[in-house]
């Protein structure tokens, strides 16, 4: 391994400490691999490399001296558009497959199967039934669950192209449903939307960049549908998150415990692991771990269990290899999405077991323990026992757990936010929020979403942007690895509100926090969950828009993904645009090779759907642009 100075790889002190350790031990991490990938191909970065058929790859010379067309005749605009919408479809497939998993579990529960699961939040179940128009009067719980599962699975099965997906139609503002319906942007079926995107981008199909991008927005809306149903049904199944005090960063690992990290996205197994860990505590103690079992979270599985069980968060996406380097991680249990294939290679240097659990997501070098919902508790126990066995192989001399962690108040589901507001005004909970937006104490709302990327100093863009917007009285919401960044940086605390919020925002957060019995202001950044949970923010925004009698595109609400990298993030960004939000991305998507596509997503979209992309790699100017977009919306509302 070549020497690699990682002093500025991450703004997270624990990550930096572990990266120095990696350097000293010649262990290669994502940052080393990124270095080795330099220079990265300019054609790919610009979106000008087409690999759609075997006549390719074809590349268009952005400088105009070389080829202008692929072998089939596709020009730069067609090539860029096709590849972009394929990425959006892949993101949609990922979120929605997660949703299908949850929906099928609900169906099986309604059929009397899956005895390790139950409906933990009946109130939420009834609320969903009301939204989807399922009768509840005098009916048994399982019958309702069955109907909800059937309607949800209908969003994967409906063949009537003009009938929109049930969840979207029932959840968005009426105006948005109408506007998108008129534009043909409401998907009728999640699976069909993904399949149709693959089909229209096959060689010799859709070549019109505008038509392709509209198709991309349609499939992105299917991503929102899939995310929404995944989140809402998970709440019924596992409980709707409520504010809970937890902690974040590698200091949450315990020298005296069997440390088990859950990594990935789907709560189906990780939630059960949290439940049964207590049962196996004595076995861990008998194996020499005086502090028992310590479950810690990584990436979005981490957020699922952090929100619902208060399980501390070890780290977010880009630094997921680093908990292994503490020498104190017995096992990392992974499910789906954003799991680095390098994990087993790093674990090889330690005693750590990498355990894959999903039959569609295996990694060579890892141990595969197939997860079956019918035997969830049994699977969870097997895995925990593997971790306990690994504890015996731990080398105490190599244990190096960073001493740093941050307190984090998390669990702000839309319901939790409304409940907190209800403490201020029980009859009309949204009124305090509306009043403060109107009087300017809150200028607007920003939702931070997305990942980490080696192209940005880890977490730094999130922290810089959030501080700069909060100072200007913008309410900050976050999900996914954005939320991980804020938790690690200590911005999910009352202290952060006192330190960084502008006066107006500080006043509002203090009033609500005190009324809600938090003993201080609400945290500066409200943790709304994993990346599939962005629909929570949409639910809150929709409630706000409906109360004001306006559309989502009228609200002073913006989204930002300053460190995005995954196809899911592109899908999220694209539906955020489609529901009307000015949406910032801080790592440049592969569209710059086509001026037409770039213009479509950054300008034309605004006329069409109200939302548009803001591409800016500089957090400072991006903050100014987001604030300006908020002001434009306020002016539109006459504020």
């Amino acid at each position: 391994m070549t020497h690699h100075d990682c002093a500025h790889c991450s703004s997270d002190a624990c990550a930096t400490e572990m990266l120095n350790l990696a350097e000293a031990n010649s262990i290669e991490t994502a940052w080393h691999r990124y270095e080795k990938q330099q220079p990265q191909c300019g054609f790919g970065s610009a979106g000008l490399c087409c690999r759609i058929c075997l006549k390719g790859p074809c590349r268009i010379d952005p400088f105009g001296e070389g080829p202008k067309y692929g072998v089939c005749g596709a020009d730069r605009d067609t090539i860029v558009a096709r590849h972009l919408v394929r990425m959006i479809a892949a993101g949609t497939a990922a979120h929605s497959e997660h949703g299908r998993h949850i929906a099928l579990a609900m169906q099986h529960i309604s059929q009397g199967e899956l005895h390790d699961y139950s409906i933990r939040d009946e109130a939420k179940l009834y609320a969903i039934a009301k939204t989807l128009g399922v009768a509840t009067e005098g009916r048994g719980l399982l019958a309702i669950v069955g109907d909800l599962a059937a309607i949800t699975l209908g969003d994967f099965q409906n063949q009537d192209y003009d009938k929109p997906c049930a969840w979207l139609a029932a959840s968005l503002t009426p105006r948005r449903v109408k506007r998108l319906g008129d534009l043909g942007l409401l998907p009728h079926n999640i699976d069909a939307s993904v399949a149709q995107t693959m089909s229209r981008t096959h060689v010799g199909c859709d070549a019109d960049p505008t038509n392709l991008i509209l198709g991309g927005l349609r499939v992105a809306m299917a991503d929102l549908d899939g995310s929404m149903l995944a989140t809402e049904l998970s709440d019924a199944l596992f409980g709707t998150p409520q504010p809970v005090v937890s902690a974040a960063n590698l200091g949450v690992m315990k020298r005296g415990a069997v440390n088990i990290a859950v990594n990935g996205h789907n709560p189906m197994l990780s939630d059960i692991i949290c439940d049964v860990a207590a049962d196996l505590r004595d076995e861990a103690i008998a194996a020499g771990a005086a502090e028992g079992i310590n479950i810690i979270g990584i990436c979005c599985t981490g957020h699922e269990v952090m929100m619902r069980h208060g399980v501390p968060l070890a780290t977010n996406y880009l630094s997921q290899e680093l908990p292994i380097l503490t020498g104190a991680l017995e096992a990392m249990v992974v499910d789906v999405q954003c799991i680095m294939p390098s994990l087993p290679r790093i674990a090889e240097c330690f005693h750590t077991q990498i355990i894959t659990t999903d039959k569609h997501n295996k990694i060579s070098g890892a141990t595969h323990v197939p997860f079956d919902e019918h035997k969830a508790v049994e699977t969870a126990k097997t895995i925990i026992r593997m971790a306990i066995a690994a504890f015996g192989r731990r080398d105490p001399n190599r244990v190096a757990i960073p001493a740093f962690k941050q307190k984090s108040i998390v669990g702000f589901s839309a319901e939790a936010v409304v409940a907190a507001l209800a403490k201020v005004n029980a009859d009309d909970p949204l009124k305090p929020l509306v009043d403060n937006v109107v009087n300017g104490n809150i200028q607007g709302i920003v939702l931070f979403v997305g990942c980490n990327t080696t192209k940005v100093q880890q977490d730094s863009a999130y922290v810089d942007l959030a501080k700069s917007l909060a100072k200007r009285n913008v309410l900050v919401l976050a999900t996914g690895c954005a939320a991980g960044a804020f938790a690690k940086a200590g911005l999910m605390t009352s202290e952060a509100t006192t330190q960084y919020a502008g006066e107006g925002l500080k006043g509002v957060l203090s009033a609500i926090g005190t009324a809600a019995g938090l003993g201080g202001p609400l945290p500066l950044v409200m943790h709304m969950g994993s990346c599939v949970d962005n629909s929570r923010a949409v639910a809150l925004a929709t409630a706000l828009a409906n109360k004001l009698g306006v559309d989502l595109s009228d609200l002073p609400l913006v989204a930002s993904a300053p460190e995005c990298m995954s196809e899911k993030a592109l899908a999220i960004g694209s539906w955020a645009v489609t529901i009307g939000l000015p949406t910032h991305v801080g790592s440049v998507p592969p569209v710059i090779g086509s001026q037409i596509v770039t213009k479509l997503v950054t300008e034309t979209a605004k006329d069409l759907v109200g939302g548009y992309f803001i591409v800016d790699t500089d957090p400072k100017s991006a903050g100014d642009k987001l604030y300006a977009a908020i002001q434009e919306r306020r002016a539109g509302l006459g504020l």
């Binding site: 220079p39 300019g42 054609f43 590349r59 010379d61 952005p62 400088f63 070389g66």
Partner: protein, 190 residues
């Protein structure tokens, strides 16, 4: 004494290089003895690029031997394998012993010592010899191409083989055009 013509070089325009590595691939294939990349990979032929696209300060710079006129590698070579010949700096592989002195003195990091055959463990020799950009003389002779493989492969024409005479003429003409234009407006008596 008749003047010695300068060696031709590969000129690279960093502003046009997209770091696609096509030139590296092409170089490796051209020196592999195979016809194309797929064939070379399938036949397990040695694929070593003699050029390297280097990323610095956000720019990609294709690097290879500059065919120096007072080449340190030729002075350092104890066997005379590395020498000026036929308008370029050549390494006669049969004479090279792989001592790497040329590698160490080349200011551009242009030379790598590599073996092209699989050598048994414990054999007396690694069979490594020095490799650097040879302007594709053999490849051009066998394929009838005029430009080296990397230049052929570059999709943005960021690299070119440059004859310094032609380069100078082009430079002079360009500047002459500008100066002539300016001087037309100068009416100074002195």
């Amino acid at each position: 004494m008749p003047p010695i013509k300068e060696n031709v070089i590969i000129y690279a325009n960093p502003d046009h290089c997209l770091s696609c590595h096509s030139c590296e691939l092409a170089c490796a294939v051209a020196h592999s003895g195979g016809h194309d990349m797929i064939e070379a990979i399938a036949a397990n032929l040695p694929l070593h690029a003699r050029n390297k696209v280097v990323s610095v300060d956000g720019t990609a710079m294709p690097m290879q031997c500059r065919q120096c006129e007072d080449a340190p590698c030729t002075f350092a070579c104890p066997t005379g394998a590395c020498r000026q010949a036929d308008g370029q700096v050549q390494i006669v592989e049969q004479h090279c012993i792989g001592c790497k002195l040329c590698v160490m003195v080349c200011p551009f990091g242009a030379i790598t010592v590599r073996s092209e055959t699989v050598v048994e463990q414990g054999a007396c020799t690694n069979r490594g010899v020095a490799k650097k950009c040879d302007l594709c003389v053999d490849w051009r002779a066998s394929t009838g191409k005029t430009a080296p493989a990397c230049v052929e492969a570059c999709p943005t024409k960021a690299i070119r083989m440059v004859d310094l005479d032609a380069y100078r003429i082009a430079l002079r003409e360009a500047r002459a055009r500008e100066i002539a234009k300016s001087h037309r407006h100068m009416r100074v008596q002195f």
